[in-house]
Amino acid sequence: MRKSWWKILCIVIIFYVIFMGLMGPVPRLAIINESIRNTYFHVALWLAMTTLLFASMIFSIRYLNKGRIGDDDIASELAKSAIFFGILGCLTGSVWANYTWGDPWPNDPKLNGAAVGILIYLAYLLLRSSFEDEQRRARISSVYNIFAFAVFIPIIYILPRLTDSLHPGSGGNSTFGSYDFNSDIRRVFYPAIIGYILLGLWLAELRIRIKVINRVRDEALITSDKIS
């Protein structure tokens, strides 16, 4: 196992988040009650997803700059683990909304924005699968990935704040950051984000390595065909 210290760190952080997230002190708030602990498990998912998508966009830009196919592999797998987090975020959000807002999918701009954002990225995967030629696929989907991120941020973070939304920080609602978000929450919330990011990177890394193995094997098959 080479360079695996960050994987161990990921496991340690997530254990810390499980223990402190369930047993640590939290502010007493009406209506949400104990479900404030979902901040560690649900909100952190979205922030980790955004970070992974940002990293994916960076690697797409790098591919367009340098033209190495490896960068495109990294970009696509980072996007995949981010979409995985996004779908988990939608599901966990539904559960939370059901018990605090009384509806699994209230017609909230942030929810619909998140759904559209995930669809945009599913379209990215669809676009990738529709090309046979590797370089062509990498070039076109890299450009798409950059645009997708540029649309994703306003749709999920900026537009919901301009209208009325049930989420904190929108319409008349205060943000968590203003007064509810005390140091007890921060102590678990920030490690939770880092833990999720590392977990996403780990998932992506495994898939990238399998991709590289497949590519090497295919090349070996082609060369052995030529020799024989």
Partner: protein
């Protein structure tokens, strides 16, 4: 003087009541669960499940490394 001190005492008692409310403002939380101590069982179960997932991921990781070694990647 006596009246003033009485007034102060009353105010102090009222404020003490308010302090108590600030600590426990009647918002229901899972205090009972923690008193019973059984919530730790749930935490332990979740921890065991995640430990299993983590071990599984580490094993997949090492298997991929082994294949990489066979194919001389990096």
């Amino acid at each position: 003087m006596k009246k003033v001190s009485l007034l102060l005492l009353t105010l102090f008692l009222i404020s003490g009541n308010l302090f108590a409310q600030a600590v426990d403002n009647g918002v229901p939380m899972a205090d009972k669960l923690r008193e019973d101590g059984k919530i730790w069982v749930v935490v332990a179960v979740i921890a065991v499940v995640f430990a299993g997932i983590a071990i599984n991921m580490l094993r997949i990781d090492s298997k991929v490394s082994k294949i990489e070694k066979e194919l001389n990647i990096k």
